[in-house]
C-alpha cells in the first residue's frame, strides 16, 4: 500500500462514496447479501447471549449451594436442579447450532459475493476504460491507472470483505451487550462505560501521536524509494563514474532517517496494543472489585431483569466488558481502513464516471461487390472491396467505394481549448499517394494523424474521407479502414501468430504467414524456437526492436486497410536494420494512401508530397526535389546544417 499511495495525497472521500459502494454492492447481490446480513446478526447474537445462559446456570448453582448449606446432600441438590440445568444447556446448544449454521452460511456467502463483486468491478472498469478516448490515456499516467486495478481494488476488497462486516457485527455486538448489561445491572454497566471511555481517550492521544509519525515515516519511505529508484536505474552511470561510495553515503543518510521515523511510528502502534489489552484487564479487575464491594455491601441493584446483584450476575460482566471493549477498538481500527478504501473507491468511480468517447457517426464500412457499371452491392462475405454505406434522411442508402482519398481543409486544432497547436492545415492525399510529414518534436506531425483517425476531434475546418465528412463515419469503421504502425511497438502477450492475427481476428494461419512474408518478417519468425507459435511476453522483450517492428508491420498488413499511417516507424532502428524493415514497409505501402512521419529523411525521399511542419503550421510542401530546389528549411535539414530538436 505504501507504494501506491506515494505522491498521491490522501484526500477525504466525498460523502456519497460509501453509499455508492453499498448501492453498487446491494443492487447486484440483493439476495445473498440479505442472507448474509441476517446470518451475520444471528451468529453475532449467538456469540454474546451465552452470557445470559451462564448467569442462569450459575443462578441455579447458587440455589443448589444454598440448599446444601441448609443440609441437603449434594446428590439430592444435583437431582433437584439437574433438569433445570439440562434444559438451559439444551437451549444453549440450540442457540449455538443456529449460530454455527448462520456463521457458516455468512462466511461462505460473503467470500463468494466479495469475489463476484470485485470481478464485476474490474470488468466494469476495464470495459469502461476501453471506451474512453485516447485523450484520457494521454492525460493520465499509466502508473496511476494501473494502481486503480491493484491498490484501489485491493482496498475495496478489504472494505467489503472485512471493514463493513466488522462494523455491522461490532454494532450488533455493542448494542446487544449494552442491553444485556442493563438487563443485569445498571451500576456495573456504568463502570464498564466509564472504562471504555478512558480507553477511547488513551487511544485517541496515542493514536494522534502515532498518526503524526506515520506521516513522517511515509515521507521518509518515499524519499528512500525515490532515491533507490533513481540510482538503480542509473546504476551503470554510477559505475562508470566510480560513484558507488558517494551513493552509499547518501543512501545511508536517507535510510537512517527512515529507520528513525519508522521506529517512532511503530513504537506508538506497538505500545497501543498492550495498553488497550491491559486497560481491559484493569477494567476486569475493577469490575470484580467494585462488583464485589457492591455485592458485599448489598447495594440494591437496578436492572431491567430485576435480578439482584450477586456472583452469578457478576461473572457474565467479565465477558461483556471484554466484548464491549474489543468491539469498540475494532470499530476505531476500521475507520482508517474505511477512509483509505473510500479514497480508492472514489478513484475507481471516477474512471467509471468518465465521459466515454462519443460517436454520432452513421456511415458504416461494408463489404461490397462491384458490377461492370461500377454499381456497388452490399455483401455478407469478405470480397476485398470495401464500401461506405451511407444512409440518408429519406431512408435511401448510397454506397461509396473506399478508395483512400483523404482531404483536410483549413483544419485548426488544440488539445486544450484556447491553445491551438495546429493552424490552418490543408492537404489532399489521393488514393495510393505517400504523404510525409517532417518537423521538430511538438510541431504537430502526430497530431495530424490523431485527427485523421479521430483520436481527437478537430476544432475548426473539415476532414473528408472519400468525400464523406469523417464526423459522419462511425469511429470504429473509420479506424478499421486505417492501419497504423507506431514508433513504440506494442505487442501483446501471446504467440507471434496471435499478435499478427490481432490485425484481423478471423484471419487464417495462412493469411497471417503471407502477411508476415510481405512484411519481410517471415524469415526471422521461422528462426524463432517455436516459429509462429513462439510465445511473446513482456511486450516481446525477447525480440530486437527491429523484429518487433516487423511483427507490427505484419499485423497491419494482415488487416489490409486502404489507408496506412506510419508514425516514426523506423526511427529507433539503426540504418542497417532499417533497410530490412523499409523493404517490409514498402511492400505494405503498395497501392495504399500512406501518411508517413519520419525523423530520418532518407525514409521519406520518395514521397509524393512532403510537408514540413513548424509550430503547427505547414511551412513548406512539395516533392523532395521541389523542396531542395526551394532551399528552405527542408534543404537545411537535408544538408545537416539545421536540426529541429535544437
Amino acid at each position: 500500500m505504501n507504494k501506491g499511495f506515494r505522491g498521491r495525497p490522501m484526500k477525504k472521500a466525498k460523502k456519497g462514496t460509501l453509499g455508492r459502494v453499498l448501492k453498487f454492492l446491494f443492487s447486484s447481490y440483493k439476495l445473498p447479501l440479505t442472507v448474509v446480513l441476517i446470518c451475520m446478526i444471528l451468529s453475532t447474537i449467538a456469540q454474546i447471549c451465552p452470557g445470559v445462559f451462564q448467569q442462569l446456570i450459575l443462578e441455579k448453582v447458587q440455589l443448589a449451594l444454598a440448599d446444601m448449606k441448609l443440609g441437603m446432600s449434594p446428590s439430592g441438590a444435583l437431582e433437584l436442579y439437574f433438569d433445570d440445568i439440562t434444559v438451559i444447556c439444551l437451549t444453549l446448544l440450540a442457540v449455538y447450532v443456529v449460530g454455527l449454521i448462520s456463521s457458516f452460511i455468512y462466511n461462505r456467502t460473503m467470500a463468494i459475493t466479495t469475489q463476484k463483486f470485485l470481478d464485476k468491478l474490474r470488468n466494469t472498469m476495464f470495459g469502461k476504460m476501453q471506451k474512453l478516448p485516447i485523450k484520457y490515456f494521454d492525460t493520465h499516467s499509466h502508473g496511476d491507472i494501473m494502481s486503480y486495478y491493484t491498490n484501489d481494488i485491493d482496498t475495496l476488497r478489504q472494505l467489503v470483505s472485512q471493514s463493513v462486516p466488522q462494523l455491522i457485527m461490532s454494532a450488533v455486538t455493542i448494542i446487544t451487550v449494552l442491553v444485556l448489561m442493563l438487563y443485569f445491572s445498571v451500576w456495573m454497566t456504568l463502570i464498564v462505560i466509564v472504562g471504555v471511555f478512558a480507553m477511547i481517550i488513551v487511544t485517541k492521544v496515542i493514536g494522534g501521536g502515532s498518526a503524526k509519525y506515520f506521516v513522517k515515516q511515509q515521507k521518509a519511505l518515499g524519499k528512500v524509494e525515490g532515491y533507490v529508484e533513481e540510482m538503480i536505474h542509473g546504476q551503470k552511470v554510477v559505475k562508470v563514474f566510480c560513484h558507488e561510495e558517494k551513493s552509499i553515503q547518501e543512501f545511508t543518510a536517507l535510510n537512517d532517517k527512515l529507520c528513525e521515523d519508522a521506529t517512532s511510528a511503530n513504537k506508538y502502534a506497538n505500545i497501543l496494543m498492550p495498553i488497550m489489552n491491559n486497560i481491559g484487564h484493569i477494567l476486569y479487575a475493577l469490575i470484580i472489585f467494585i462488583g464485589g464491594v457492591l455485592v458485599l455491601a448489598e447495594v440494591p441493584n437496578i436492572s431491567l431483569s430485576g435480578k439482584p446483584l450477586d456472583i452469578s450476575t457478576l461473572i457474565p460482566f467479565i465477558g461483556f466488558s471484554k466484548s464491549f471493549t474489543m468491539n469498540i477498538s475494532q470499530v476505531s481500527q476500521q475507520f482508517n481502513a474505511i477512509a483509505m478504501a473510500l479514497a480508492g473507491a472514489e478513484r475507481i468511480f471516477e474512471v467509471i464516471d468518465e465521459e466515454p468517447e462519443v460517436d454520432y457517426g452513421y456511415v458504416t464500412l461494408v463489404n461490397a461487390t462491384e458490377d461492370k457499371q461500377g454499381n456497388l452491392t452490399e455483401s455478407e462475405k469478405r470480397t476485398g472491396i470495401w464500401a461506405w454505406k451511407h444512409p440518408h434522411g429519406d431512408g435511401s442508402v448510397t454506397y461509396t467505394k473506399v478508395r483512400g482519398d483523404v482531404r483536410l481543409n483549413q483544419v485548426d486544432f488544440g488539445y486544450v481549448e484556447d491553445k491551438i497547436v495546429l493552424h490552418d492545415i490543408s492537404l489532399y492525399a489521393e488514393p495510393g499517394q505517400k504523404i510525409a510529414f517532417v518537423g521538430a518534436t511538438g510541431a504537430g506531425k502526430t497530431t495530424i494523424t490523431n485527427l485523421i483517425n479521430r483520436f481527437y476531434d478537430i476544432a475548426d475546418g473539415k476532414i473528408r474521407y472519400d468525400g464523406i465528412n469523417i464526423n459522419k463515419i462511425k469511429k470504429d469503421d473509420l479506424r478499421r479502414s486505417m492501419g497504423i504502425v507506431l514508433q513504440d511497438v506494442n505487442l501483446f502477450t501471446g504467440t507471434v501468430m496471435d499478435n499478427i492475427r490481432y490485425g484481423k481476428l478471423d484471419a487464417t494461419d495462412e493469411e497471417c504467414i503471407n502477411a508476415a512474408k510481405r512484411a519481410n518478417a517471415h524469415s526471422f519468425i521461422s528462426m524463432l524456437p517455436d516459429g509462429y507459435n513462439t510465445v511473446l511476453s513482456g511486450d516481446g522483450s525477447g525480440l530486437s526492436q527491429g523484429q518487433r517492428q516487423l511483427i507490427s508491420i505484419a499485423r497491419a498488413a494482415v488487416a489490409d486497410p486502404p489507408v496506412m499511417i506510419l508514425d516514426e516507424a523506423t526511427s529507433s532502428i539503426d540504418t542497417r536494420t532499417e533497410a530490412i524493415v523499409s523493404a517490409g514497409m514498402d511492400a505494405l505501402m503498395q497501392g495504399r494512401t500512406v501518411f508517413v512521419i519520419a525523423h530520418r529523411l532518407s525514409t521519406i525521399k520518395n514521397s509524393n508530397v512532403i510537408m514540413v511542419l513548424d509550430h503547427g503550421r505547414i511551412i513548406e510542401r512539395g516533392s523532395h526535389e521541389d523542396l531542395l530546389a526551394q532551399k528552405g528549411k527542408y534543404y537545411q535539414l537535408y544538408t545537416g546544417s539545421f536540426d529541429f530538436d535544437e
Binding site: N2, P50, M68, P74, Y81, F82, I85, C89, L92, L100, R108, A111, T114, Q115, L118, D119, N123, F126, G127, Q130, K131, F137, H142, Y149, V228, M231, G234, K239, V240, F241, C242, H243, C259, N266, N270, I271, P274, N278, A285, I288, G292, L296, I315, I318, G319, N453, F455, R479, R480, I484, N490, F492, Y502, G503, Q545, S552, I573, S602, D643, E646
Partner: protein
C-alpha cells in the same frame, strides 16, 4: 533455512532488542495469565460471602498491579520490537543497496532494475513485518497457549480435559484448511499478477487497441481472465470460510462442556473440586487458548507469504560481483594505448553465441577511432571491455600496455571515461551533475568542458544557468542537450581514454562536428573512441572499425573503407544517396 540464517546476520546491533522483545513478551504473557487465576480466587471469596473490604482491596490491588506490570512489559516489548524490526529493515536495505553498488554490469543485467527496486522496497517491508511478528506475536501466541493450558489444568483439573479434545480438533481443522487453501492461493496470486500485467499491456497499447478497433475483443479477453481469477479465488475463499465456524464450534463446545459438567461438578462436589471462580477462569483461559491457536495459524500464513520476499532479498545479498578489484592493484595508467588480443566475449556463460569473436586491435594513445555497425553488431560490447565493465571470456584487453584486470577499478574507470548510450542525468543542478566527473572541479573547469561539449550556449540561455535544476531522468532538457551534458561530465574527468557510445545521435551534424573539432584541438593526447550511426561522425577519424555480428569486418581510414569494405560502403551510400550538396 539458509535464507533465514543469512537474513538473521543482518540483525546486527539490533540483536539486543531482538532478544529483549521476546523476553518482555513472555513476562507480559505470564502476568496476563495470572490475572484470571487471581480473579478466580477473588470471585470465590465473593461467592462465599466471607470476605471483608480490606481483603477485597488487596486482591483488587494485586489484579491492578498485575495489569500494570503486564502493561509495562507489553510496552517495553513493543518498544524493543519496533527498534529491532525497523533496525533490521534498515540493515537489510543497507546491505541490499551496498551490495548492488558493487554489482558489475553483468550482475545488473541479471536483475532488472525494477526488480531490484521492488526488492529494496516492498520485499523489505514484507520481511520487516514478518520479523516483527516473529519476535512478538509468534512468541506471544504459543506462550499464551502453553501458560493458559498449564493454568487451566492446575486450576480445574479434570474439567480441563475438554482441551485435550477441543485443541486437537481445532489444530487439525486449521491445518487442513491451510493445506488445502494455500496452494490455490499461490496459484491464483500468480494468475492475478498476470491479469494485472495484461491490463498494463492494454493501457500501454491503447493506441493499437483503438486503431484496430479491438475494444470489445479486449474486454472479452479480460472478462474471461478475470472470471478465471474470480473462480480460483472463490475456491480458495470457500475453504478459508471454514475458519471462523470451526473456531466457533470449538468455543461453543468448550462453553457447553463447562456449563453442563462444570455446574454439575460444583454441586456434586459441594465446591470441593470446582467452584464458581474456577468456572469463570476456565472460560477465560479457554478463550485465550483457542484464540492463540487462531493467531498461530495466521502467523503461519503470513510467514509463508513473506518467505518468497525473503528469498528474493537473499538472492541480491548473496550475489557476488563478477568483477572485483585484484590484489596489489596498479593505481596509475601510463597512457591511452589500447590493445585487444584474441578477445572472445559472451554475456552469459551458457550463451551459445559469442557477442565478440576473435578481436585483435591496437589503438595508440591520442588516436581518434570510429566504430560503425548495425544494432546487434556488438559495438557497445567492444568498448565496455576497456573500462572493465565486463570481463573478457578469452584473450585480454590492455590499457597503457597492462591488462585491465590488473588495475584498481576506480583508477581504470577514472582514466577511461565512457559516455554510455543509455545515459542518465540525476536530479540536481547542472553543476552538481557535472561534478560527478570530478567532485572538486572549479567553476572555470566546468565552464571549460561545457564549451568543449558545445553545451555552454544553451546552459547560459537558461535563466539559472549552471544552477538550473535537472528533473529526475533529465526530463526537462532535450535529448541533444542531455547528450552534450553527459559528454561534458565525462570530459571533466580528464581521462586518458574517452569513449562516446552513440553519444551525439540527437545532436545536429554541425554541432557534432564542432564537438569533434574541439576534442581534436583541446585534448589531443586523449584516445577518443566514437561509436556512431552517422558516417559523418567518424569519417575524419584516424581509424574506423567496421563491426558486423561481433567480428571485425574491416579496419581502415574512411577512404580505405570506401574502397574496400562492402558494409561501410552500403551504409555510406544509404546515408548520402540522392543529392549530397556541397
Amino acid at each position: 533455512m539458509k535464507t533465514i540464517k543469512r537474513l538473521a546476520k543482518c540483525i546486527g546491533v539490533y540483536k539486543k532488542n531482538s532478544i529483549l522483545s521476546p523476553i518482555f513478551v513472555s513476562l507480559e504473557v505470564i502476568m496476563e495469565c495470572l490475572i484470571p487465576f487471581v480473579a478466580s480466587k477473588l470471585l470465590k471469596f465473593i461467592q462465599d460471602g466471607e470476605i471483608e473490604i480490606p481483603t477485597l482491596s488487596i486482591y483488587g490491588g494485586i489484579l491492578v498491579a498485575l495489569a500494570l506490570l503486564s502493561l509495562t512489559f507489553g510496552a517495553l516489548a513493543g518498544t524493543h520490537c519496533s527498534i529491532a524490526s525497523c533496525g533490521f529493515a534498515k540493515n537489510l536495505r543497507k546491505e541490499l543497496y551496498e551490495n548492488s553498488q558493487n554489482f558489475s554490469f553483468e550482475n545488473i543485467d541479471k536483475f532488472s532494475s525494477s526488480s531490484l527496486v521492488t526488492r529494496m522496497t516492498t520485499d523489505v517491508t514484507n520481511v520487516q513485518q514478518s520479523f516483527m511478528m516473529i519476535i512478538r506475536t509468534a512468541i506471544r501466541s504459543p506462550l499464551m497457549f502453553i501458560f493458559s493450558i498449564i493454568m487451566a489444568f492446575s486450576l480445574a483439573g479434570s474439567m480441563a480435559v475438554i482441551f485435550v479434545i477441543v485443541v486437537p480438533i481445532l489444530l487439525f481443522a486449521l491445518l487442513m484448511i491451510m493445506k488445502k487453501a494455500m496452494p490455490i492461493f499461490k496459484k491464483v496470486f500468480k494468475k492475478y499478477d498476470r491479469l494485472n500485467s495484461s491490463v498494463q499491456e492494454n493501457i500501454k497499447g491503447m493506441r493499437v487497441v483503438k486503431s484496430f478497433v479491438r475494444e470489445d475483443y479486449e474486454s472479452e479477453k479480460f472478462r474471461n481472465a478475470s472470471e478465471d481469477v474470480r473462480n480460483d479465488f472463490i475456491r480458495a475463499e470457500k475453504i478459508l470460510a471454514y475458519n471462523n465456524p470451526v473456531m466457533q464450534l470449538c468455543m461453543y463446545a468448550l462453553m457447553l462442556f463447562v456449563c453442563f459438567f462444570g455446574s454439575r461438578l460444583i454441586i456434586s462436589s459441594n465446591e470441593a473440586a470446582f467452584d464458581v471462580g474456577k468456572f469463570s477462569a476456565l472460560l477465560t483461559y479457554g478463550m485465550q487458548i483457542l484464540s492463540s491457536l487462531m493467531m498461530l495459524s495466521m502467523i503461519f500464513v503470513m510467514l509463508t507469504m513473506s518467505g518468497e520476499s525473503a528469498r528474493r532479498i537473499c538472492e541480491v545479498i548473496d550475489e557476488k560481483s563478477t568483477i572485483t578489484n585484484p590484489e596489489n592493484a596498479i593505481t596509475a595508467v601510463k597512457n591511452g594505448d589500447i590493445d585487444f588480443s584474441n578477445v572472445n566475449f559472451k554475456y552469459a556463460k551458457r550463451a551459445e553465441k559469442y557477442a565478440l569473436e576473435n578481436i585483435n586491435l591496437h589503438i595508440s594513445s591520442g588516436q581518434t577511432v570510429g566504430i560503425i555497425g548495425g544494432t546487434g553488431s556488438s559495438k557497445s560490447s567492444l568498448i565496455q571491455l576497456i573500462p572493465r565493465l565486463y570481463d573478457v571470456t578469452d584473450g585480454s584487453v590492455s590499457v597503457g600496455g597492462i591488462d585491465v584486470r590488473s588495475y584498481d577499478l576506480d583508477t581504470l574507470r577514472n582514466e577511461v571515461a565512457v559516455v554510455l548510450q543509455k545515459n542518465v542525468l540525476f536530479s540536481g543542478t547542472i553543476k552538481e551533475n557535472l561534478r560527478w566527473g570530478n567532485e572538486f572541479a572549479t567553476d572555470e573547469e566546468i565552464e571549460h568542458v561545457c564549451k568543449l561539449a558545445c553545451a555552454d550556449e544553451f546552459i547560459n540561455s537558461f535563466p539559472n544557468g549552471y544552477d538550473t535544476y535537472i528533473e529526475q531522468g533529465g526530463t526537462n532538457v532535450s535529448g541533444g542537450q542531455k547528450q552534450r551534458l553527459c559528454i561534458a561530465r565525462a570530459l571533466l574527468k580528464k581521462p586518458k581514454i574517452l569513449i562516446l557510445d552513440d553519444s551525439t545521435s540527437a545532436v545536429d551534424t554541425r554541432t557534432d562536428a564542432f564537438i569533434r573539432k574541439a576534442m581534436r584541438d583541446e585534448i589531443p593526447n586523449t584516445t577518443k573512441i566514437i561509436i556512431a550511426q552517422r558516417i559523418s561522425s567518424v569519417e575524419d577519424a584516424d581509424m574506423i572499425i567496421v563491426l558486423d555480428d561481433g567480428k571485425i569486418n574491416g579496419i581502415g581510414t574512411h577512404e580505405e573503407l570506401i574502397a574496400t569494405n562492402a558494409i561501410y560502403n552500403e551504409v555510406y551510400t544509404s546515408q548520402t544517396k540522392g543529392a549530397k550538396m556541397e
